[in-house]
């Protein structure tokens, strides 16, 4: 018995000791004997034919060991980078899925597309040699925007993908929606852009690869959120390496946000190359390289229409979106703007009919894939902006129109018209809580105070729900997933009672080493310090799908909970034998097995000891040892949600928007560690505020050059952009996860952009402004004010 720290406590994070004292072990810290340095040569053009590559100058440069190109990949008959999801159009025609070679073949399709890999003795030599590669490009016109890409006559990325449309996807009952629109008392319309984002995890991507001829085994250390999936995709589908001959390790990883949940060509190239040169190789991306190769996020252009009756009840919602895929299909690419978008368009409302069409479009840009929230922030933004536009047009208060349409708490489980069934929730409770916490009642006083300083103040709401805990495999399979989405955990109890957990999720900032230890500490009654969580190594962890989609606690935690329960079941059998009682009479509580109604007990340590020294042990019916494993496949998504209220002040002289107050009341189900949940909400909200006010990936339309290609031009949110946030939870329990948890990793990012933009529009509504595209930069706001119907208030 020791220091039990269980569910609901907020111990300091176990992992922070090593991070804060500089003892983390990141990929770029890894050094292998005889290690070489690899550098990728990337396309400087958005779109070009590769007419030829002359390696000779590079090969002659000092220290160069090898230069590999797409021709070498083709000669070795390696596979294309696979897409993990296959979606189809309304007729069931599969999406166009052109090959994505790990080094470009025939053509380059975005600035940053990989053309060659140069391996040299040192990074300096590799960098210097890489500059000598002579590539004969025939530059073609680029197309970077979705509207332009689908126009007749637009540059075509692939010969067999007409109009650059990968898939013309739809969801919902189109006819029912049309009928509802014909009967509507009011139709509100909105056109909007969901801006393109770049994830910018603090640690750039990196990889080290090694081949051991003695065992014919490969090891890849990579900055990944899902090493087992990389092993499968890369080993089985790209490099033809049997799974047992490939070890993938994702050690400490400095942030992911989705950017590191894909199988990247760099991983395949470096692993393949390590065997070719018979030397370990390290590659570490520079920040600039990350900008043109880390998968980007969002990038939608949308037209939406909401049909309402005369009382403001939503009758039908119709959404048409063009979604940018970039130059190739990334691992989850086509799934994000379709399956993770359309099913969320019901939001927390009772809208009976919804139709969504998404054209998934190739352009000469970095491939687009999941970024924190992934599809759900886009859906929430369309819906929550639409609600405000409708309220304003119909003269109904924004809170009141939400109340009139909200799913009441009693109506759960609630089947939406867009596939998903919400198991639990209380959106009205979150709204009521947030109204009080944000002190909405006295907003008028604050607005008047701002006005006296010549500033415009606005308040914005976002009442939202999301779907996470990815994912029920069978359901996902019907939607096009090509893999399972369960999770696994092994609980290994050592002879002395300490516990090592092997889990298939990956901790890269979320605090899993703490949260999962709390679950074990609570359930087994062992000391919090006596539990270690192992992840990120395919040789140590049985299997796993990794961390993304707010799934680690929901799916991984459930597997852990199940495995822990199995340990208790076995422990009871051992205790029954030792205590000479019937198994049904054994109780387990607070780390002690006891015979019900007696004072006869065995501690958890005693049982563990007996399991490993089975002298007095029921060997005829029970195996020695105390180690259990569980796989968990969820029966449904989980549906966290809540109400976010943003308050902004706009300086009409400069157009600057300042976020002055932020309140979030979220339903994330059971909270294991309140401090960690609060941190996740804070971080998520800041990223959403980043999208709303600052971040924007901008391409030059003709050349396909990324203009916002560094932190000097891509504005990340900073501490001084943020007010002190008020964050609270108003939880209903998930009805189908073992602990009632719902997940909290993405809610902040999903709820916040709409709240912020609704606040900006509110601040400017007296000038006739009805919509502001993200990011609401000073330049953009100033221009809106120049064009606004009323003169800007003078000083």
């Amino acid at each position: 018995m020791g220091n039990v720290i269980g569910i609901g406590a907020s111990p300091k994070r176990k992992e922070d000791q090593r991070f804060l004292t500089g003892r983390g072990n990141y990929v770029s810290d890894i050094k292998r004997p005889g290690m070489t340095a690899g550098v990728f040569v990337r396309s400087p053009h958005g779109h070009a034919v590769l007419r030829g590559i002359d390696k000779s100058a590079v090969l002659a440069a000092p220290g160069v060991i090898a230069v590999l190109t797409g021709e070498d990949v083709a000669a070795d008959k390696l596979g294309s980078l696979p897409c993990g999801w296959g979606i189809s159009d309304a007729q069931g025609v599969p999406m166009k899925e052109p090959p994505f070679p790990m080094l470009a073949q025939g053509k380059v399709r975005f600035v940053g597309d990989m053309v060659a890999f140069v391996i040299a003795e040192t990074p300096e030599q590799a960098n210097a040699a890489a500059e000598l590669l002579s590539v004969d490009y025939e530059v073609l016109p680029s197309v970077v925007g979705v509207l332009e890409a689908v126009r007749p006559g637009a540059p075509q990325l692939f010969d067999d993908v007409p109009n650059n449309i990968c898939c013309d996807w739809e969801l919902g009952d189109k006819a029912a929606v049309e009928t509802a629109f014909r009967k509507a008392a009011h139709v509100a319309k909105l056109s909007l852009v969901n801006n393109r984002l770049i994830g910018n995890p603090m640690e750039p991507r990196a990889a080290v690869a090694e081949y051991e001829p003695g065992t014919d085994r490969f090891t890849l250390w990579t900055t990944s959120q899902f090493p087992h999936v990389v092993r499968f995709l890369m080993g089985a589908l790209v490099l033809n390496i049997p799974q047992h001959k490939l070890r993938v390790v994702a050690p400490d990883v400095g942030g992911g946000f989705g950017v590191k949940q894909f199988h990247y060509g760099e991983e395949a190239v470096i692993t393949w190359a390590a065997k070719r040169v018979h030397r370990p190789i390290k590659w570490v991306a520079s920040r600039s390289e990350g900008y043109v190769s880390d998968r980007h996020g969002r990038d939608h252009v949308t037209e939406a229409e909401l049909a309402l009756d005369e009382t403001g009840k939503f009758l039908a919602f119709r959404v048409n979106t063009l979604a940018n895929m970039g130059g190739y299909l990334s691992t989850f690419g086509p799934n994000i703007p379709t399956n993770l978008y359309g099913p969320l368009l019901g939001g927390v409302y009772t809208t009976p009919a919804i139709y969504c069409n998404v054209k998934v479009v190739f352009t000469n840009t970095v491939p687009v894939d999941a970024y924190r929230g992934a599809g759900r922030p886009e859906a929430t933004f369309v819906l929550e902006r639409m609600v405000d536009v409708a309220a304003s047009e119909m003269g109904i208060d924004r809170v009141e129109i939400r109340r009139r349409n909200m799913i009441p708490k009693e109506a759960y489980p609630y089947q939406t018209p867009v596939l998903v069934q919400y198991d639990s929730g209380d959106p009205m409770g979150c709204l009521d809580g947030a109204l009080v916490a944000a002190d909405v009642k006295s907003f008028g006083v604050r607005k008047a105070a701002s006005a006296s300083k010549g500033k415009f103040r606005g308040l914005g709401y976002s009442t939202y729900v999301e779907a996470c805990g990815l994912a029920p495999s069978r359901f996902a399979g019907r939607l096009g997933a090509r893999g399972g989405l369960y999770e696994s955990a092994t609980v290994r109890v050592h002879p002395t009672g300490q516990v090592t957990v092997m889990i298939g999720t990956h901790n890269h900032g979320q605090g899993h080493e703490t949260t999962f230890a709390q679950i074990v500490s609570e359930k087994l009654g062992v000391s919090f310090e006596d539990v270690d969580i192992v992840f990120g190594d395919t040789d140590r962890v049985q299997f796993g799908m990794g961390t993304y989609g707010s799934r680690s606690l929901v799916v991984g935690g459930a597997a852990l909970s199940k495995a822990t329960d199995k340990v208790i079941v076995k422990g009871k059998k051992i205790a029954a034998h030792l205590l000479e009682a019937a198994e049904v009479d054994i109780q387990f509580e607070a780390g002690k097995f006891s015979v019900a109604g007696t004072d006869r007990i065995k501690t958890f340590e005693e049982i563990a000891g007996a399991a490993y020294v089975p002298h007095n042990y029921p060997l005829e019916v029970l195996e020695p040892g105390l180690e259990e494993q569980a796989y968990y496949d969820p029966v449904n998504f989980t549906y966290p949600g809540g109400c976010h209220i943003a308050e902004v002040e706009v300086d009409p002289e400069t157009g600057t928007v300042t976020l002055v107050n932020y309140t979030a009341v979220d339903d994330v189900g059971t909270v294991i560690n309140p401090m960690i949940v609060e941190g996740q909400l804070h971080g998520g909200i800041v990223q959403g505020v980043g999208q709303a006010l600052f971040e924007n990936a901008v391409y030059d339309e003709s050349s396909g050059q990324l203009l916002s290609g560094s932190l000097m031009d891509y504005c990340m949110p900073r501490a001084d952009h943020m007010p002190m946030m008020k964050v609270a939870t108003h939880s209903t329990l998930c009805t189908h996860t073992p602990m009632g948890v719902k997940g909290c990793g993405e809610v902040g990012t999903i709820g916040s952009p709409a709240a912020v933009i609704n606040a900006v529009v509110d601040a400017l509504s007296h000038l006739g402004v009805t919509h502001v595209d993200m990011p609401a930069t000073p330049n953009r706001i100033w221009r809106l004010l120049q064009n606004a119907s009323l003169p800007v208030a003078a000083e």
Partner: protein, 265 residues
Amino acid sequence: MKLFAYHQPDQIPDAAKLLTSIEDSKLVAGGMTLIPTLKQRLASPVALVDLSKLGNLKGITDDGATITIGAMTPHAVVAASKLVQSKIPGLAALASMIGDPAVRRRGTIGGSVANNDPAADYPAGVLGLGAGIVTSTREIAADKFFLGLFETALEPSEIITAIRFPVPLKAGYAKFKAPASRYALVGVFVAKFADGVRLAVTGAGSGVFRVPPMEAALSQNFDPSAIAAIKIDTDGLTSDIHAEADYRAHLVTIMAKRAVDAALS
């Protein structure tokens, strides 16, 4: 980064000689622009001549009618200087707004002025105050020093040793920070002297420039209202992904008013 030779002379003539004798050599002061450029392999000088060991290039002296700041004085020192704060508070304020704390500890006034980045802060203060740029060979008036995008009147082997600032009656700086880089999207420095007002703008165009109509108006009436109606022509102003030229022009007037406010407060 590519390999280069590194020299650390302790006499100014030695530094000048190294610059002349080694083709493709560069001076490094704080290195806040040069080092990132080297790391990105955008520049590859054969040799760097480090100014940090040269004597007498650091520190701030009070000469009564002028304040002299040694070229190797970091921004943080200027910002925290009681002397600068009392004699030219606008200049101390400007120094406190440059970059971030790390940049302000390393970056130097001489390096900033010699680099003449079109969005740097110091050029606005130097031109706005009509300072003298003291070099290894002469003193150059600010009005003759800044020649446009990254160009100055410095000869190839000439080294800035100090900046001499006339003490104004009042001075103020207002900066609208570029959202990502926090360089000046538009920065305006205004200084009132007994014989008139000088006003210099950074960030808006390809280099720092003065605005004579605003100077004339403020010389008559040193109050924000005097320039509220003066618009700047967009010709020659920068348009980029953060701000188009007309927005920058608008900001010049707004920031000029705020600079006057700052000078008066």
